[in-house]
């Protein structure tokens, strides 16, 4: 399904450029090459990517970024959906989310100037350590904070120069950027189901960090980051499931069985109808959540968790049923389907599983109704 969110000429041009570049420079053929070479991130390619503006939408103009329509997150949603559709690799989601945290009004003044331009230009890469898998203590050191503990399953953890983490001093929570090149940080790459989206466990032993926020400022920034990250994840996922459904639908018209096209068999037609319904539904809730976060609606948290749990589950169901409709070929490494499936599996399971997000939904619902 084509992304139809072209709300301005600038945005439409930007999306067209993205699509052309991705089709040429980040095709699934390219992706397979990187796989074989065991590369999770090709730095020269990434620097090229950032010139297209994939990392600048959420950063305010005064720091060199800027939205195309005044609704930056919706612009980024449209971009990310295309990246998902074309299975483009790279740390776009997590990096944009970290940028959203660094430019948050409650972030320490000065943090942004120090890193933003390098991150936007692809000279450095930053990632985020999901709090439930992070256990880090912080204490003041000579130049900055000293950190100790672990952060598990960090996306692009073995490639990132900086890792944003939530830690705690003896007095208060802090949000810290850890420099992975400084002494004290040990990285163990893990075995991601998607080689183009690698993860790593980090052990930090007197590692060095820069304070981004502290005390009551931490949670609002973390909440914002996680909302942005989940919105981008569902945008990418619905892009992917839409593409897989397109492939399977095309197949139904081209493949003949018993002398007539698969698309003429009612049992399959009904399944395509269900698949199309679910794909529309997934995209609608993803977009609705993005709008809510963009406009900081009161229901933003509820809608993000609804989107994450629904898209997380239904995207895999769509892809697997498409695999069934595509037949045996879909089960081979040669077919593109698995590139999307792997990414959707990661998206389903990370930054809160559907089950965990449903627990959030229930809390919001029961608390809200109790308060009313």
């Amino acid at each position: 399904m084509a992304s139809a969110t072209a709300r301005s000429t600038e945005l439409r041009m930007f999306l067209d450029t993205t699509r052309k570049f991705a089709e040429a420079q980040a095709s699934t053929t390219q992706l397979r090459t990187w796989w074989r070479e065991g590369q999770g991130l090709d730095r020269p390619w990434w620097r090229q990517v950032t010139e297209l503006g994939w990392t600048s939408l959420l950063v305010p103009e005064e720091h060199g970024g800027g939205s195309l329509t005044g609704e930056a997150l919706l612009d980024l949603f449209a971009l990310t959906e295309i990246l998902g559709e074309l299975a483009v690799p790279g740390p776009t989601n997590v990096l944009n989310s970290v940028l959203a945290a660094l430019v948050h009004p409650k972030a320490q003044p000065g943090v942004d100037v120090r890193w933003l331009s390098e991150l936007m230009a692809g000279e450095r890469v930053a990632t985020w350590a999901h709090p439930p898998a992070t256990s880090l203590s912080a204490q003041p050191g000579r130049d900055g904070l000293l950190l100790n503990g672990t952060a598990l399953a960090v996306e692009f953890g073995a490639h990132a120069d900086l890792v944003l983490v939530r830690a705690a001093t003896q007095e208060r929570p802090v949000l810290v950027l850890i420099d992975t090149h400084a002494p004290g940080v040990t990285v163990r790459p893990t075995q991601s189901i998607d080689p183009a989206r690698p993860f790593a466990d980090l052990a930090v032993n007197d590692g060095r960090g820069t304070l981004v926020a502290q005390g009551p400022d931490v949670e609002p920034i973390v909440a914002r980051l996680q909302q942005v990250l989940n919105v981008l994840q569902v945008a990418e996922t619905v892009g992917g499931s839409g593409r897989v459904l397109d492939l399977a639908t095309q197949w139904a018209f081209e493949r003949y069985s018993f002398g007539r096209p698969l698309a003429s068999y009612q049992a399959l037609k009904h399944r395509y109808a269900d698949l199309a319904t679910h794909q529309h539904a997934a995209r609608a809730i993803a977009l609705r959540a993005a709008r809510a976060v963009q406009d900081t609606e009161a229901d933003a948290a509820l809608l993000v968790s609804a989107a994450k749990s629904y898209v997380g589950e239904v995207s895999l169901e769509i892809m697997q049923d498409c695999a069934q409709l595509l037949g045996g070929l879909s089960q081979t490494m040669e077919h593109d389907l698995h590139l999307y499936l792997r990414r959707a599996m990661l998206a389903r399971q990370t930054y809160g599983t559907p089950y965990e997000h449903r627990q959030v939904v229930a809390s919001l619902l029961l608390d809200r109704e109790a308060a009313a």
Partner: protein, 396 residues
């Protein structure tokens, strides 16, 4: 319109507080009271918001109706007048009626003076809506109607019906149908309520025995009834799926009477159970997705990005979400839910009504596959065949 949406909201809020009573957990819907409430809305300028002014409406946008419905949520509203009068029959009249018909019927309907119902389905019909056996024969001064209809919502409380009848048996089935506007209470019309599993008496079956209709009763063209029915089905899909811009007042009825899943979780002492919370959230998530999908589709239909047939997406998803809620309800209600039964067991009994009423989900899937995705039509044995030669099955 110099008034913007927020100003409209405030005006609606004020008017509602001053004029309508708050909703209570009433029992059965009272039709007389419903008509009276609709009259009040009409006089206050809040009825038929999306209908043109020249036919008794307010000529406003779907956004206005949504805002009004949000404000009206806590008030007693004549919600049952939505189906089919305001959301299905009214819009169909608007699309297909003559100027005289629109002037005669629409203002009265919007004012609550005239309720419509649809006589479409037949006992032998099932999904094949065009396979109509009810016949209308020409007389000197009009038509003579004979036959039977079923699954007519609120036929026993309505005043007028749109009835689809066969007027030519020697052409293929879609080409020999005519839609008529018919007064229900007249000689030869018998209406029997149907007792449903969930306790509802909403549906009726009707028998027509030499019912006389004037020539002016024809809606649209003679033998052009299928075109009218198609508009009617379009509006029905939108209404059943919760995406009609003509819906005035929402939810209330069943929700206040029977309680929500959240109520059930709380009242059964399961608010701390992780499992109960998961089931509750499963249902709630689907409702949120449903709302998002309804909004998204409505917008994309308006923008011309999708064909009308795409309204079937919402019909399909609506049933899925509602049935998931009922399934969760049965699960959460536990043993007591059936041995000392509350509303969830009854809702479960009538669960399939949600994917049958207003066109089955199977038909919706056909429509999506064939008219949205463009897949080949299902072979029909009656295509191009004069209707009197079509096989009707061993039982009919």
């Amino acid at each position: 319109m110099s008034e913007n949406l927020e100003q409209f909201r405030l005006r609606a809020r004020e008017w509602l507080a001053a004029n309508l009573p708050k909703a209570s957990t009433e029992g059965e819907f009272d039709w007389d009271r419903g008509r009276q409430l609709q009259r009040q809305l009409y006089e206050g300028g809040f009825a038929g918001l999306c209908y043109p002014r020249e036919y008794g409406g307010q000529g406003l946008t779907p956004q206005h109706q949504r805002v009004f419905n949000e404000e009206a949520l806590d008030y007693e509203m004549p919600v049952r007048l939505n189906f089919p009068t305001l959301t299905i029959c009214g819009p169909t009249l608007l699309d297909t009626g003559s100027e005289e018909q629109k002037k005669e019927f629409l203002p009265a309907a919007i004012a609550g003076e005239l309720l419509f119902c649809q006589f479409l389905s037949e006992p032998s019909g099932g999904s094949d809506l065009a396979g109509v056996l009810t016949r209308a024969e020409r007389t000197a001064d009009g038509w003579l109607l004979n036959g039977a209809k079923t699954w007519s919502s609120s036929a026993d409380t309505a005043d007028w019906a749109m009835v689809l009848a066969r007027t030519d048996w020697d052409v293929p089935k879609h080409q020999g149908l005519t839609m008529f506007l018919m007064r229900i209470r007249q000689p030869g019309v018998q209406v029997n309520p149907i007792q449903m599993l969930n306790g509802s008496h909403e549906f009726c079956e009707e028998f027509f025995d030499d019912v006389r209709l004037p020539s002016s009763a024809v809606l649209g063209e003679v033998n052009g009834g299928w075109a009218v029915a198609t508009r009617l089905l379009y509006h029905e899909r939108a209404a059943v799926g919760g995406a009609s811009p003509f819906v005035s007042g929402v939810r209330q009825g069943q929700m206040t009477r029977d309680g929500t899943l959240t109520d059930l979780v709380r009242e059964s002492g399961q608010a701390d159970s992780e499992r109960a919370r998961d089931l509750l959230a499963r249902s709630e998530v689907l409702h949120l997705v449903h709302s998002a999908l309804a909004e998204d589709l409505t917008q994309r239909l308006v923008d011309g990005e999708l064909p009308d047939a795409a309204m079937s997406y919402i019909r399909l998803f609506h049933a899925e979400a509602q049935q998931a809620e009922i399934d969760c309800g049965l699960e959460l209600a536990g043993p007591a839910g059936v041995t000392d039964s509350g509303s969830w067991a009854l809702r479960y009994l009538g669960r399939q009504g949600l994917s049958l009423g207003g066109g089955s989900t199977e038909m919706a899937r056909n429509v999506i596959a064939e008219r949205v995705l463009g897949m080949p039509r299902e072979a029909s044995a009656d295509k191009g065949v004069p209707f009197r030669q079509v096989r009707q099955g061993p039982t009919s």
